[in-house]
Every structure is written in structure tokens, then in C-alpha cells.
Amino acid sequence: MPEHKCDCENPLVPGIVEVIDIKDETPDVKSFFVRSVDGGVPFNVMPGQLGMVSLMPVGEGMYSVSWQEEQEYLQFAIKRVGLMTDELHRIEVGQKLGVRGPYGNGFPVEECKGRDMLFIAGGIGLAPLRSFIKYCFKHRRDYRRIQIIYGSRSYNDLCFKDELFDKWPREQDTEVYTTIDNPEAAWDGHVGFVPAYLEEISPSPEGKIAVVCGPPIMIKFVLQSLEKMGYGDEQVISTLEMRMKCGIGKCGRCNVGSEYICLDGPVFTLAQLKKLPPEW
């Protein structure tokens, strides 16, 4: 049957961007800075929202936008874990990519205003949280005390080191705690897993919102720790990940219960998560 060219907007067709910079974050995480070939960002995102990135002809993958710098660029920090990301890690500055979005609900940046913020991340889980952390610093007066607890397998695997060790600790009323899984000769910081370190630091739940992202197993333990420490279900926010294809709540696979991570999530409060099956 003949297929006609159409003028209407197909949400599954990406816009084209150019990679204007690539930065090695860790041995297996790179940041890709992209700008629309027509200039500017391909779309505006709120912290925690997602973008579907395609590398022709290899594939398409959903990644959180780790930062939007005004109308200059979108930054995606992407870990090399499979076929698509393996190829992505081989591209060079100047490469053209497809990007569509923004997808998902993003973090409740408005509702968190006036609160103390506690960010808890593991590994590449800092990538989505970083957009919220940087948003808080950009609108510093809207948020109160900021605490960041972040852990990775090793020192090398800690993402965004310049911010973690240099920029963020110098921000007003801000504490950054880092930990790695196993001791290393050159590391004099904390050693141990994130949930245990969190309980050690034991930030008081009073007036606080906790935002959590990391591997599913870390999230599950951190949520338990926070509950133990007295955090209420509305005080805890997490951002989830599932395999995604369409990004618009149609293709089916990213459901947790009757919710679609790409559309209704990826950000959920613990109160919302408790109503959903633990299938993530």
C-alpha cells in the first residue's frame, strides 16, 4: 500500500541535534552535550525529565537529561552498558543524533521550595538527580539546607567529580558526602554502601525532602532506611527506570502496575510507590 508523506507531528520522529562536546566522567560514563542543528536546545526540560536519544542506524535509548544549560545545550550523562551505549561512547564531537522529548513528569521542584533537600544517589543514579541539584543551586534562595550523599563502586566510578569535590561543597549551606564500596589506597573518605552511610549520617527528617536514585536494589534499601529514620511517605521521592521504546505511554513495557514510567513517572513519591506493585 502506498504510504504518504505527512505534514503532521508524529511524536515518534526525533529532531536532529549536534554533539558539541563530550566529556569523560568516569571510565564508563560520558557526558554528551547536544544542541539542535537549527540552534538552541531541541526542547526545554524540567529537572528529572527524559529524552529519547537515537544514533542512526544503531538504536534509540531513553536517558535522563542531567542538565539543560539555558538555550545552549542539553547534557546527557550516559553509562556504557549495552549495544547502543557502546556505540554512543565511540562517537566524536560533531556527530549528529536524533533526540525526542521531553518525557516524563520530572521532579516536583515547586513543591520542594522552602524545604531542606537531601539527595541520595548511587553510581549513574546521580545523573538524573544532578539536574535537580543544579536547579536548587541556580535558585539557591528557594531551597534551604542541601545535603548530598553519593556513592559508587570505586573512586574512578564517581561521576561529576569536579562538582562533587570542588563546586558543590563550596555552595552555601551545603554538605556533600561521598562513599565508595571498597577501600582504595588513595582514598581517605568513607567506605561502604550508600544505605549504611545514610544511616550513619542520619539526617533528620524534619522539614526535609529526600530524593533518591540509583540501582533498584540501592533504592529499595535506601527507602527502608529513610522509613526507619522517620521520613514520611510524602517526604521521599524516587525516580525509576524501565526499558522504554515509545516514551509516550503507548508501547506497554515500562508499566509498574497501571502506571507508565515514561509518562506518569519516572518520578514518584514513596506514597505513590507503595500503591504500586514492587516490580521495578
Partner: protein, 340 residues
């Protein structure tokens, strides 16, 4: 009322086939499904208007098994979207039953509501006219009424036909239906005919309260037993008129290619397999549970109706004899007191 005599059926189908691509239920070799009337081969094909359900549902008319989204050229120098595809060809589905129109109703919910309109689906759907065939004699595996469907009044129909023995009552329901009625005016007669009598359902199913009960049954041991024989072959999703899950894949040669979508199945482990290894539904029990919860609970929570329309195809197709009506029954009977 308007009547289409069965002696004029072929003439009517020929006429409709000149208006648009006309899909009719046919038995073709060992398969049966909705095929273009213009591909009908007397002798090897058999028109299946009297069969309650052909094996393959008509969903492919509005949601093809594979469908191109866009074509591109791409290499390390540049990327260009060449063409974005959309199909506006007029189509008619003839003889579709109420269970299958109800499934299209579910498709409309998924593809046309909740934030985004799927333009590929919308283009095909808008240009599709539905001539539905009212059912009065439920088959052995039919249970549409239990799922809230009136088999004699198919929803989403532009025309409803009702079999009176030697003729069909022809009822136009929409403007689209009126257009086809006008096109067929030379073949339609204006006379009275008795509406057929509704026969009793042979298969008694009680879905009442199942969606609500399932809310507390995610961790129930019933899923261990129920899923034991499932081979996760995915045939149930393929023959299901309301299963819509799809994959997006790429086909490329040199610097050119196109991205397309195709049917997927929640029964396959790859469906939720993430790069890096994590799979939230890695074992068959989890996939089986998700499929039935989606059908009987999740979809109803989201769209207000179950994602099963009682057509009974999966009951016939399943190589392991898994029967969704038995599952509904066992859910109804399950002990959900603490510890069960």
C-alpha cells in the same frame, strides 16, 4: 428498514471494495483472519461471515504487524530524516464482531488519549469504516457479555448488520456509515425483517469484582500455580484483538534506513530486559502475572474497562490449554485472607 439480501452480498462486497480497501473475514488454508476482499480466491478462500471469530483479529487493519515510522540517512557526518510516514488510505472492515470492535475501543483509548495522540494509528483509524456484524448465537468460548459487552450492539460501528437468515438488516450508525449506505443504495431494499433472537451464553464467566480483588493479589501464591504451564510463547498476545504492545526497531543498509514498529509481546523476557542486565519481569511467572493483571486490573484502573473483550481466541490458541476464564474463576475463588 434497510435490508441487504444475501444473494446480493458478493455484489455489495465488490462495490465496497471499489470504495476502499475492504477487509473481510476469510478462511485461507489453515489460517483465518481479515484479508482484503480483492485478494479473495474462490476455491481456496472461504468467506467466514457465519463464523463467530476468525483466528486472527482485525487489529492489523488499524495497527499493522509492522509499520514504518520514518526513514533516514545517517553516518558520522550527518543525519537527516528523509520521510515521516503516515497512511491515510480509506479502509473498510466488514463483518467485525462486537468483541473486536470493543477491542478497537481499547486501542482508541491507548493510542488517542492520555497525553499523546499516536499519529500513525490516528491516520489509519480516521480512515477506517467499520461494518460490524451483531452476534446472537454465542460460541463455545465466547464470554463478551461477562466483560461488559453487548454482542448485539457493537460499539464503534459505522454500520451494524444483523443476520436474518436469507438477508442482513443494514443499520447505519454514523456519517461514515451513511456514505457507504448511499454507495450501496442500488443493492439495499427497504422492507421489514425480524431482528434475530439472542441465544444464551454457553460459557458462564463472572468478572464482577475481579479487578478490585486483584489489587491485593499481586503477591498471592495463585500466580505460581496458574503460570506453571505457560511456555511464554506469546501466541495469546498475537491472536488477542486488544493486545497492542509494540517494539520500535531499525532496518538499515549502508547509510540509509528506516525506523519501524512491530508487534511485541509481554510474554518475552526481552520485552523488559534492560541494558546492563536488570529485568523487572525476568521470569515467566512475573510476565504471566503482568499480562493477566494488565488485562483484568491495570487497564481498567487506567481506562475504565478491562483489556479483555471475551472473544475466546487465546483459549483456543494456547498450546498449554491456559484459559483466561478459568483464571478469572480461580481469582474469584481465591482465598485472600492473610497468609494465603
Amino acid at each position: 428498514m434497510q435490508i441487504l439480501s444475501k444473494s446480493k452480498l458478493n455484489a455489495a462486497l465488490d462495490l465496497l471494495s471499489r470504495q476502499a480497501e475492504l477487509f473481510v473475514p476469510l478462511a485461507r488454508g489453515e489460517e483465518s483472519g481479515y484479508y482484503p476482499w480483492k485478494s479473495y480466491q474462490a476455491g481456496s478462500d472461504q468467506l467466514m461471515l457465519d463464523a463467530l471469530n476468525v483466528m486472527l483479529p482485525p487489529k492489523g487493519v488499524v495497527f499493522p504487524q509492522t509499520e514504518r515510522i520514518y526513514s533516514f540517512t545517517g553516518n558520522d557526518k550527518g543525519v537527516e530524516i528523509k520521510e515521516s510516514f503516515e497512511n491515510h488510505d480509506p479502509r473498510i472492515i466488514f463483518g467485525i464482531r462486537a468483541c473486536d470492535t470493543a477491542a478497537l475501543d481499547c486501542f482508541d483509548d491507548v493510542f488517542l488519549t492520555m497525553g499523546y495522540v499516536d499519529s500513525l494509528y490516528a491516520a489509519r483509524r480516521e480512515n477506517t469504516t467499520i461494518i460490524a456484524h451483531a452476534c446472537y448465537r454465542p460460541g463455545d468460548n465466547c464470554f463478551c457479555a461477562a466483560m461488559g459487552i453487548d454482542p448485539t450492539e457493537p460499539t464503534k460501528a459505522d454500520v451494524i448488520i444483523r443476520d436474518t437468515g436469507d438477508a442482513y438488516i443494514w443499520e447505519s450508525k454514523t456519517d461514515k456509515g451513511d456514505k457507504l449506505t448511499a454507495a450501496l443504495s442500488s443493492l439495499l431494499e427497504d422492507r421489514e425483517a425480524a431482528t434475530p433472537e439472542m441465544q444464551a451464553f454457553k460459557h458462564q464467566v463472572d468478572y464482577e469484582g475481579v479487578a478490585e480483588k486483584l489489587k491485593d493479589m499481586f503477591e498471592h501464591s495463585i500466580w505460581d500455580e496458574l503460570s506453571q504451564t505457560c511456555q511464554t510463547c506469546g501466541i495469546c498476545t498475537y491472536v488477542c484483538p486488544s493486545c497492542y504492545c509494540f517494539d520500535i526497531q531499525v532496518k538499515s543498509w549502508g547509510d540509509e534506513g528506516y525506523r519501524f514498529r512491530c508487534y511485541d509481546s509481554c510474554m518475552y523476557p526481552e520485552y523488559t530486559q534492560m541494558a546492563g542486565g536488570h529485568n523487572p519481569r525476568g521470569d515467566s511467572r512475573e510476565r504471566f502475572r503482568n499480562r493477566f493483571l494488565h488485562k483484568l486490573e491495570f487497564f481498567k484502573e487506567r481506562y475504565g474497562k478491562p483489556l479483555c473483550t471475551g472473544c475466546g481466541r487465546c483459549i483456543v490458541a494456547c498450546p498449554a490449554g491456559i484459559d483466561i476464564t478459568q483464571i478469572i474463576k480461580q481469582i474469584k475463588e481465591a482465598d485472600t485472607s492473610a497468609g494465603a
